[in-house]
Amino acid sequence: MPESSTQVEQLQVGEPGPGVPKKDPILIVDSVTRTFGGMTAVDVAHVEIPRGKITALIGPNGAGKTTFFNLLTGFDKPDTGTWSLDGDSLSGVPAYKVARRGMVRTFQLTKALSLLTVMENMRLGATRQGGERFLPALITGLWRKRETEITDQALELLARFKLDTKKDDYAASLSGGQRKLLEMARALMSKPRLVMLDEPMAGVNPALTQSLLGHVLNLKNDGTTVLFVEHDMHMVQTIADWVIVMAEGKIVAEGYPATVMADPAVIDAYLGAHHDTDLGSLTGQLEVAEDIGSPLTGDIIEEIAEETPDAK
């Protein structure tokens, strides 16, 4: 049992590892596969996402993380597999209905609606606006009240994300990082049960990353479950409660952030993706271990020191 499990609440049942059951899962995925031509992009036998926690989905480029997100949210159809949110099956459910059921995602390539204002972007994320139907839309009186509520809610979120001064600007005028923030804030308008963020930190100005981490932690405090894909190991180590590692479409490791990096399967996963690295060489391993912030780094340095005493 990892020592960190004495400090943090135990999330899983049994030993941490790929596909380990959770005490209180919100999302359960079974044998989901997706192939492109002959290439298997996703092949997930079983995985559970713990409720009310922040789970990081990591893995080298091309591991299938985005494809997995697309499948779960109805933006792509799997070849096989089933999955359910709070016990309700989501397989075959169209993307817009998945969102309505309370599972909202953001995109790796930001999708801010450029020629709508920041405020209109936000309002679009709201639910229960009768004026979105054709006939009620014709009579302003039927939807004005709800619109005011939506606007207030949007202003509150925008203020939290420090975008309130931009509310009347076109989304196109925002910086890349601000668009990421807008997309995340917009996804929160519907008060989802589960938010799935695909690389929320990519392209975000380092000055903003700290506040972004804060936003994600706030989500958890509000009771929202978060599943995010991220390459930034600092973010993973800082805010994730649980880490799932994907490589070549499969889940290869699962565990607590403090310990999962020590799993040799994780080093293997990243090594497999570092084609330019000499697989056998310890320095290559070191490079990878440092890259992903693995606790094995120390061990490898020691090993190198033993092999080549004069290098010290």
Binding site: V104, L113, S114, E132, A137, Y170
Partner: protein, 324 residues
């Protein structure tokens, strides 16, 4: 020299053709400007709506309201036929299917086998009786400065413009509502809108229907004082409509209407100027060459407009700036 052509050009403002094109262009603006649907078959909607109205009026003797309902239902069915297989696919499928479907409609109505109903290449005359029966205007000549009209001519012009204004107000209201927010979002990125829980395919269908019905009704205005001619609903008509909305501003409500006026006035004006120059031997072309040349002039004017004012006359400069 004779400068009558200026009055003639200005009278285009009240021509049913201008009014009809304004309405059809408004429909196309709903598709292309607001929702981002690449409909290259607006002429097909115009034909389907027009034939539904003309056939039910002249062949079946339906009253005006029923024939108008047929026009609306015909346009809706056409939208469903085109939209159901294509709207869930990539955007280009809709353009291919609409451009082909519009041509299919035009060739089908010209087929000799169904000519007894559709009038074949000659089209359909006499769709105006039920409409003119409602005319409350006194039977005198009306002198309006830019032209003299009898009571029938004035009646269709008044009703036509009222229909366009009402349609414009409805579209304006819709585009300022949460419904309009969704279709504009779809224009920007439909997957983003989908991820926010909106049934994107259904909204695209609603937009296709709405713009298509406006196209169908437009033809009714055009054919009442004249006749329904199948060859007036070829691909060229759709491109005229695109010219009109790009001229006025595709993402505005006023743009398609003013665009239609400018298009027909300028076309008539350039025709007048060219005939003046030709008949006075001031330019070395024949009167036969005159027709194509005025379209060249319109084409050049449009190119200049796109270069210097890409958002159209009424478009929002910031919008065009960011989409560039």
């Amino acid at each position: 020299m004779d400068f009558n052509f200026i009055t003639l050009a200005l009278s285009q403002i009240l021509e049913p053709q201008t009014i009809g094109y304004a309405l059809a262009a408004l429909g196309l603006a709903v598709h292309f400007g607001f929702t981002g649907l690449l409909n290259f078959g607006q002429a097909g909607f115009m034909a389907v709506g027009g034939y539904s109205f003309a056939i039910t009026t002249t062949q079946f003797g339906w009253p005006l309201w029923a024939a108008l309902a047929a026009c609306v239902v015909g346009s809706i069915i056409f939208a469903l036929i085109l939209g159901i297989p294509t709207l869930r696919l990539r955007a280009d499928y809709l353009s291919i299917v609409t451009i082909a479907a519009a041509e299919i409609v035009r060739y089908t109505v010209k087929t000799p086998d169904i000519s007894p109903i559709t009038g074949g290449s000659d089209g359909i005359n006499g769709s105006s009786d039920t409409f003119n029966a409602l005319n409350p205007l006194p039977d005198i000549q009306y002198h309006l400065g830019i032209g003299t009209y009898n009571k029938e001519q004035l009646w269709i012009r008044i009703v036509g413009w009222v229909v366009v204004i009402v349609a414009a107000l409805v579209i304006r209201q819709l585009m300022r509502s949460p419904w309009g927010r969704i279709v504009k979002g779809i224009r920007e990125d439909e997957d983003a809108v989908r991820s926010l829980g909106k049934n994107v395919t259904w909204y695209k269908m609603q937009s296709l229907i709405l713009g298509g019905v406006l196209g169908g009704l437009a033809t009714v205005i055009v054919i009442i004082p004249t006749s329904l001619q199948p060859d007036n609903y070829g691909t060229q008509t759709t491109f005229f409509l695109y010219t009109i909305i790009l001229l006025g501003g595709a993402t505005t409500v006023l743009g398609p209407i003013v665009g239609s006026i400018i298009f027909w006035v300028v076309l008539s004006l350039s025709d007048g100027i060219l005939s003046l120059l030709v008949s006075n031997h001031l330019i070395p072309i024949t009167s036969i060459q005159q027709g194509p040349i005025r379209f060249i002039i319109v084409g050049i004017a449009l190119m200049l407009l796109v270069i210097f004012r890409p958002q159209g006359i009424f478009g929002n400069k910031r919008e065009a700036h960011f989409s560039a």
